[in-house]
């Protein structure tokens, strides 16, 4: 039975999703697609693509005696640049799984029938609304040696913590500041996704005796495939671009322990005035980001 069906299917022309159209209809579709897409495509070309080409031409050292690639050989022989790549790698490996796990956990928690759930969700969402500059300034004061956080550790009988002044602590402090805003932000997309999952699936599996853990892995996670992919990609990219908290809280220090790549690049461009090396480092960052995202697209099961 199955074999016969398979043969019939493979014998017939591949099934098309839509019926073949007349030429006029196709032209109509093409025209409307053009109208819908053109403004965005033009803006993206002018505002994103053209400056990228400009960055590329800045990075290549035309007419330099040390060769056209000298900006690249310069940054790759610079220990500070390697340090920055290393710090960015450690930062990404910690912060991305941390934020996504917390966001997913909170999204599941806040779609349960909790008494006054709206209130708790609002309180968790509020930091999302705080601009990065504002949150960095609030945390700068919280982290002061004589600030509220050390007031708490001392009240608990613990020693003062060098939040921003010790290499072993500073990167974690940056991670806390970024996650304070980040977790709630990414959670909103997962909450929206969980609401899309039909309740009947949970009811049916409850009747079959499935526990919360099984439901999470067999219904929630597969049902969240699209929003999870989006959050995974967008969170990773945005964490590669962290700048304001580093600038305001640590300026890359102490001892380069928070010198994330975006800060390193901006320092090269603004403080050192080395546009060529900054552009070369930017291109390295862009290549790394695109490679990571491509891998994530591959690893995600199913189509796109």
């Amino acid at each position: 039975m199955t074999t016969i069906q398979a043969e019939t299917v493979s014998g017939s022309p591949p099934p098309t999703r839509r019926k073949p159209r007349f030429g006029a209809q196709r032209a109509n579709t093409l025209m409307w697609a053009g109208i819908f897409l053109l403004p965005s495509v033009i803006l993206l070309i002018l505002l994103r693509f053209a400056p990228m080409v400009a960055a590329f031409s800045d990075a290549l050292a035309f007419g330099s005696t040390r060769g056209i690639w000298s900006n690249f050989s310069f940054i790759f022989s610079d220990p500070a640049f390697w340090n920055s790549l290393w710090i960015t790698l450690i930062f990404s490996i910690i912060i991305n799984p941390l934020q996504i796990a917390l966001a997913l956990g909170l999204a599941v928690l806040l779609t349960k029938h909790i008494p006054m759930v709206g209130l708790w969700r609002t309180l968790i969402l509020l930091p999302v609304a705080v601009p990065q500059v504002v949150s960095a300034i609030i945390w700068l004061v919280l982290f002061r040696p004589d600030g509220p956080l050390n007031g708490i550790t001392r009240a608990l009988g613990l020693p003062s913590i060098p939040w921003l002044t010790e290499p072993g602590w500073a990167l974690w402090s940056i991670i806390v500041v970024c996650s304070w805003v980040g977790v709630g932000y990414w959670m909103t997309f997962l909450v929206a996704g969980i609401r899309e999952i039909p309740n009947s699936l949970y009811e049916a599996s409850s009747i079959d005796g499935a526990g919360a853990w099984r439901q999470f892995w067999h219904i929630t996670v597969p049902g969240l495939r699209r929003p999870l992919l989006f959050v995974l990609v967008a969170d990773t990219v945005s964490n590669f671009l962290i700048f304001a908290p580093v600038r305001i809280l640590t300026r890359g220090g102490p001892e380069g322990s928070t010198d994330l790549i975006m800060y390193n690049i901006t320092e090269r461009a603004y403080t050192l005035g080395d546009t060529g090396a900054a552009s070369a480092a930017t291109l390295v960052l862009i290549v790394v980001v695109i490679a990571v995202v491509a891998v994530q697209f591959r690893l995600m099961p199913g189509k796109d």
Partner: protein, 284 residues
């Protein structure tokens, strides 16, 4: 009968989840509360009661609104208004452009579609901060320095918003659009009457992306619009922190005001997040 036990069970899980949700909620709101309290204190009181911790650490003994009136009547008030205007325009125009582009990419068949989508993904991967320097040179040459247009334009080419909406539109059963086309509805009609009403949640999500991008943009306004009459709120706040002899009370008041407008928006749209979501009515 069976559904009653299920309801009871879900309510019991909910009560247990409360023990997790409340501490997390209080923890996440604490820094904001502290900033708010500090903004209501006279400047010299802010660090006075931190150690040892007493009731005065949490409750201001002297409350003053001077910090707020001072910053609002000063140059910061102008910066706040500039931020409101620039962001409002960015969100409205940006959403219109992004949703149309996303609809075309998700629902319409035309040659080059996957090429345009790949181009879009590459564009949103390019960090805006990274290209800000070459772009600001172009903008200055075009005479867009210190103009609202110069501040608004970069927020409109937002590949991320398009990406998010496309992902959602792809999940809408294509049978809906096909049926509507049979009934003679044009492409814009399908977008306007079928897809948009179904996508309240994702539209709010995309609006949030546009809003966040513009409201907290810092490097770009610093480069392109440093003049006092077009200066935006984050730049003005950073100026506060860089002053010698920082007035922490006024700095926190400015911080609270800059955070307040997005906070009110989140409170307002909260209902849309928790409201019942799009039900396509399809059994697919």
């Amino acid at each position: 009968m069976a559904s009653e036990t299920l309801n009871e069970r879900s309510r019991r899980t909910g009560r247990r989840a409360l023990f997790l949700a409340v501490p997390i909620a209080l923890l996440s709101i604490a820094p904001l509360v502290w900033a708010l309290i500090s903004s209501l204190r006279p400047g010299e009181d802010i660090f006075r009661f931190l150690y040892p911790i007493s009731w005065e650490t949490f409750i201001p003994s002297r409350i003053t609104f001077d910090n707020f009136t001072t910053v609002l009547t000063g140059p910061f008030g102008m910066a706040l208004w500039n931020s409101v205007f620039v962001t409002a325009v960015s969100v409205v125009v940006g959403l219109a452009l992004a949703s149309l582009a996303a609809f075309a990419l998700a629902c319409m068949d035309f040659p080059g579609r996957s090429f345009i989508f790949a181009f879009l993904v590459i564009c949103f991967l390019v960090p805006f901060e990274a290209i800000a320097i070459p772009l600001s040179t172009t903008f200055r040459d075009l005479g867009l320095a210190n103009t609202y247009t110069g501040l608004i334009l970069p927020a409109l080419g937002n590949g991320l918003a398009i990406f998010l909406l496309r992902q959602f539109f792809m999940g809408v059963p294509s049978s809906l659009a096909e049926a509507a086309r049979m009934d003679g509805l044009g492409w814009f009609g399908i977008f306007w009457r079928i897809y948009l009403p179904l996508s309240k949640g994702p539209m709010i999500g995309a609006g949030l992306i546009l809003f966040v991008f513009q409201w907290q943009s810092f490097l770009w306004p610093l480069l392109i619009a440093p003049a006092p009459d077009v200066r935006l709120a984050p730049v003005a706040i950073a100026d506060f922190a860089q002053e010698t002899g920082v007035n922490y009370g006024q700095m926190f008041a400015a911080a609270i005001l800059t955070a307040a407008i997005p906070l009110l928006l989140v409170l307002f749209f909260q209902r849309h997040f928790s409201g019942s979501n799009a039900n396509s009515g399809s059994k697919e």
